[in-house]
């Protein structure tokens, strides 16, 4: 699999889905529903949500490094110059126009 199949590229604005469901979820609660941008495309990895239950982790999921402004995560009291960086799998991302 190559980058050609990746849904997003560096710089794309993305929103983290706000899903509340059982299972092993790698997307931290505090970042769900927040909007940021793709900082880096790591490539494809076995899906931890499947591996966590002894399954094969297929199909693989593309993992991204997503950046957020601190103020978009914690509110206006946050420092302006810093970012929050979180690893997020593709199926947790939706495009932002």
């Amino acid at each position: 699999m190559t980058a050609a199949v990746d849904k997003f590229k560096p710089g794309d604005r993305v929103k983290i889905k706000f899903e509340d469901r059982p299972g092993h979820i790698r997307t931290p609660w505090y970042i769900r529903g927040k909007t940021g941008w793709v900082e880096r495309v790591y490539g494809e990895f076995l899906n931890p949500e499947s591996l966590a239950f002894g399954h094969d982790g297929l199909p693989k999921k593309t993992l991204y490094l997503i950046a957020f402004n601190q103020s978009d995560v914690w509110g206006e009291s946050a420092t302006k110059q810093d970012k929050v960086l979180v690893d997020i799998y593709e199926h947790w991302l939706e495009p932002v126009a």
Partner: protein, 103 residues
């Protein structure tokens, strides 16, 4: 559902993080070794261990130290995979306790 007991990033009242190096006990080093051996043999995966910790009783989870959670999740996964039974673990534990005394 709401957030799990492990997923506490950004919650207020956490206080500062203790960044000092921790002195590990012998049993904690052993816990790490057992964990790595089970991984190397393909018996369990990291994501399964994390899931086991997330499924624990929340009060028990909060009461445990880091490596106590590791041991509890190893036990849960080995029982789930029918590699050990709770009975076998308790029998062995009773042997240790009669030899070494209560922990």
């Amino acid at each position: 559902m709401a957030r799990g007991h492990h997923d506490i990033g950004g919650l207020p009242g956490g206080g500062p993080i203790d960044q000092a190096e921790h002195q590990l006990s012998d049993w904690e080093i052993l816990a790490d070794a057992v964990n790595q051996a089970l991984g190397a043999k393909g018996i369990k995966r990291t994501d399964e261990m994390r899931r086991a910790r997330e499924e624990m009783d929340s009060a028990a989870y909060r009461d445990m130290t880091y490596y106590e959670r590791w041991i509890a999740s190893i036990e849960a996964i080995l029982i789930e995979k029918k590699i050990l039974t709770e009975d076998e673990i308790n029998r062995k534990l009773a042997q240790f306790e009669s030899k070494w005394g209560e922990p």
